[in-house]
């Protein structure tokens, strides 16, 4: 397994390097930040001096070369807005988003398993159809709508929860609710599909013929096999939260990496965009390795070789 992990890390580094090069070029295509940081009537000399100070007057390949050399010294540059190392900005924001994801995904997975199992157990019953419909609705409803409605109902009308910001557990409820809906819906459908497929397989039929109860078949035998796609899709959803919780973070004033990255893009703070992209991409690569290992642990048919 150690060899497998090392091999995956090596492949990830190559992919990361290519990804980083792409990000480097893309952010610079958004334009010169001088428009934002200098007065509108600034002279061309002022704009040239600004560009020279940031190294933006050089050809892109020279900029990239300097950037790679800085990277080798673990220098990710300074934030144009804040004047502090860009990586510290990214690393300060990332745990807040990661914490959200770590709370959201277990909740989403648990609910999805319950809903998906109920839908698969008696698919044509009222409960089964309701569960299926609920999963579809949860997938379709935008997270920002859930967030705004949650604030209206639970904060303004009922006064049960704070509207936004960070603090104790109460501040987590609405952002988690908004973020958990879609993964719950998607995973519930995955669970339902996987279990329905498993329940029609020959070994299940054989077990049923031997007299094993339907409940035991569903929740002990079929369920275990249905968790495999849940892990894969769940990992995808987790990665989606890490990189895309920006709407929820914006609504709730959650200072996570999504909002930080969006603000940096709008402010043309290239160093922070690059550092944030690196942090998110690295975490997703590590997540994928973890998912692969977990998958192999659960499925004895899979080998690391």
């Amino acid at each position: 397994m150690a060899a497998y992990i090392l091999r995956r890390l090596a492949y990830s580094l190559i992919t990361l390097a290519l990804f980083f090069a792409l990000i480097f070029v893309l952010v610079r295509m958004t334009g010169n930040p001088a428009d934002l940081y200098l007065p509108l009537n600034s002279t061309q000399e002022m704009r040239d001096a600004f560009s020279a100070r940031l190294g933006l007057d050089q050809p892109i390949y020279i900029q990239f070369g300097r950037f790679v050399l800085d990277l080798l010294r673990l220098d990710f540059g300074d934030s144009l807005v804040r004047g502090i190392p860009a990586m510290s900005v990214a690393l300060n924001a990332f745990p807040r988003t990661a914490a959200l994801a770590l709370v959201v995904m277990p909740i989403a997975a648990t609910l999805a398993i319950m809903i998906g199992s109920a839908a698969a157990y008696r698919p044509n019953s009222i409960a089964g159809r309701t569960a299926t419909l609920g999963a579809l609705v949860a997938t379709a409803v935008p997270d920002f709508w859930i967030g705004i409605m949650g604030v209206l109902w639970f904060s303004v009308m009922l006064g049960w929860l704070p509207t936004s910001g960070t603090g104790g557990w109460q501040y987590w409820v609405l952002p988690v609710l908004a973020l958990a809906a879609r993964p719950t819906g998607i995973l519930a459908q995955v669970v339902r599909g996987a279990m329905v497929q498993t329940l029609t397989s020959p070994y299940i039929k054989a077990a049923r013929a031997k007299g094993i109860s339907k409940q035991a078949l569903v929740f002990r035998h079929a369920f275990r096999n249905a968790t495999l796609p849940v892990i894969t899709v769940g990992g995808e959803q987790f990665a989606g939260i890490l990189s895309g919780a920006i709407v929820v973070e914006t609504i709730f004033g959650w200072p996570g990496i999504g909002k930080t990255m969006m603000d940096s893009i709008l402010q043309r703070d290239f160093a922070v965009v690059q550092a944030s992209a690196l942090v998110i991409a690295s975490s997703i690569f590590l997540l994928n390795i973890f998912i692969d290992i977990l998958y192999a642990r659960l499925d004895p048919r899979i080998s690391f070789k």
Partner: protein
């Protein structure tokens, strides 16, 4: 069993520890803004910055009443004009900066020269001190002399926008920890979360009631409104009309106030393209816009139709300029007349809008485009983030560009039209798409005038622009809505969009 509990217990502890609780003291308030300031530099002019700093952390030499535009003592107790190119200001005694250093002539001169230093690129210098060269020096301990290249009759008015910073402030870099003389000193800025100011106990003036103010920011207007409705915040700025509940208006929690700002469509007249090169089409654009309908829909009735790009209370407003009537039939007739003369009225016109320039900015431009298409023009809207919008502003005269109009919200809090004419219509103005010798010459001449002579000169320019040139389509004098909790009392002024004077807030019992 023990192993299964580790994760949920750890998460619970983590969640309980994460973040900071809001302020709890009775004499503290929370103000929620639409966006986090980019900096807290006292020489910057951006609204997001001045809302926090102006009159709270930093104070100017001259105070200006935002309702009447009258000037009064600030950090300067008196001032006199000395010849054509100099003014002298007597500095108030017994004032100290938040770091304990004394306010004197040397400190004031240093701060002024710092602001006017082109290398520092201060927004206040760009916005309020264009068209002249300024330098300050200490005549004696408490007297500052300011010299200019050419006559500046309104220098005291300009100085009312310039907050004085402490001598310890870097003269080569902008500051994120401002040091001024105001009733509040800067305490902390937790990026992404809040800014805290604390009452300065050695303030020279009347001590404010509020002991501490925490600024937070929420981009979503509904959330800002909800924070006040639930008591999490005491003041929310820039709340969209659709997020105000009926009971908010009935109880006075929601207060709308007129802004010294006009929303407009700027025409590109540097190298104009068809069909906007034809004045009949520009008149048609103005006639096709239902301004009152715009105000009713976009600003929920709070505002008024505009025919200048500044409010009627501004010196230079010409009452002889007729208000644009909503007359789509006449607009169609003018367009057809232009078409008959060979003007390519079917050419596409792009409205470059600016996202977030005011609440419902996107919807407002879609409404305007619909009105213009209704009378036979071919208009589409392209909404841009600020950076992209600025890029278009800079390149809007380049070959290959489409015929375009730019959505703007022009603000003039000074009460003097020269602060509109310079940036908006003179050849060197950063927002200008006009190259007109009459305008350039008359604006330059007006700068040296004062009193009724100045007012008459500015009115003449207004009349020329808005009846003979038609450089833009002014749409409406805008308003903004602020929400106030029951814990405070505050009367917004026309300047409140960018100056929230915490010292004017009264804590209700």
């Amino acid at each position: 069993m023990r192993n299964r509990l580790i994760l949920p217990i750890s998460l619970a502890v983590f969640m309980a520890c994460a973040g900071t609780a809001p302020l709890a003291a009775d004499d503290s308030i929370v103000v929620v803004l639409p966006e986090e300031p980019q900096s807290l530099e006292l020489c910057e002019s951006g609204s997001s910055i001045r809302r926090v700093t102006q009159h709270n952390v930093g104070e100017p030499l001259v105070q200006r009443d935002p309702d009447t535009q009258t000037l009064s003592e600030g950090l300067a107790v008196s001032w006199t004009q000395d010849g054509d190119t100099a003014w002298q200001f007597d500095i108030r005694e017994g004032v100290s900066f938040h770091d304990g250093s004394a306010l004197d002539a040397e400190a004031v001169a240093t701060s002024l020269n710092r602001t006017w230093n082109e290398d520092l690129a201060c927004g206040v210098a760009q916005q309020y001190f264009q068209g002249n060269t300024y330098s300050a020096s200490a005549v004696d301990t408490m007297t500052v002399r300011i010299e200019t290249d050419t006559l500046d009759a309104i220098l005291p008015l300009r100085l009312s926008f310039l907050a004085i910073s402490a001598p310890a402030t870097s003269t080569t870099e902008k500051s994120a920890a401002p040091i001024g003389t105001g009733p509040y000193s800067f305490t902390e800025w937790v990026r992404g979360e809040h800014i805290t100011l604390d009452r300065f106990e050695d303030y020279w003036g009347e001590a404010p009631q509020v002991a501490q103010v925490q600024y937070q920011w929420r981009q979503e207007s509904a959330i800002r409104a909800a924070m006040v409705q639930t008591g999490e915040a005491d003041l929310a700025l820039s709340v969209a009309s659709q997020d105000v509940l009926p009971e908010d208006r009935d109880t006075g929690r929601a207060v709308s106030f007129a802004l010294p700002a006009v929303t407009l469509l700027r025409f590109d007249l540097v190298d104009p393209l068809e069909p906007l090169n034809d004045i009949r089409v520009r008149r048609a654009v103005n006639l096709a816009i239902d301004r009152q309908g715009f105000v009713d829909v976009v600003f929920d009735g709070q505002g008024s139709p505009a025919n200048h790009v500044f409010s009627p209370s501004t010196i230079g407003y010409d009452e002889t300029v007729p208000q644009w009537e909503y007359d789509p039939e006449e607009a169609r007739r003018l367009i057809e007349e232009a078409r008959a003369d060979g003007v390519a009225v079917d050419n596409e016109i792009v409205i470059f809008g600016r996202l977030g320039v005011y609440e419902n900015a996107t919807e407002s431009m879609e409404l305007v485009a619909a009105m213009l298409n209704e009378v036979g023009l071919n208009v589409r809207v392209e909404m841009l983030a600020l950076q992209a919008w600025l890029g278009v502003l800079r390149s809007s005269y380049e070959p290959g560009r489409p015929t375009n109009m730019m959505q703007q919200s022009h603000e003039n809090v000074t009460g003097d039209a020269v602060f509109t004419f310079n940036p908006q219509y003179t050849a060197s103005g950063p927002f200008s798409a006009l190259r007109d010798d009459f305008v350039n010459e008359h604006v330059a001449a007006a700068q040296g005038l004062s009193g009724e002579e100045r007012a008459e000169a500015l009115r003449e320019i207004s009349h020329y622009l808005y009846t003979e040139v038609i450089p833009d389509a002014p749409i409406a004098v805008t308003s903004s809505t602020m929400m106030l909790s029951d814990a405070i009392s505050y009367d917004p002024t026309p300047a409140s969009f960018e100056e929230i004077v915490i010292g004017d807030i009264v804590l209700t019992p």
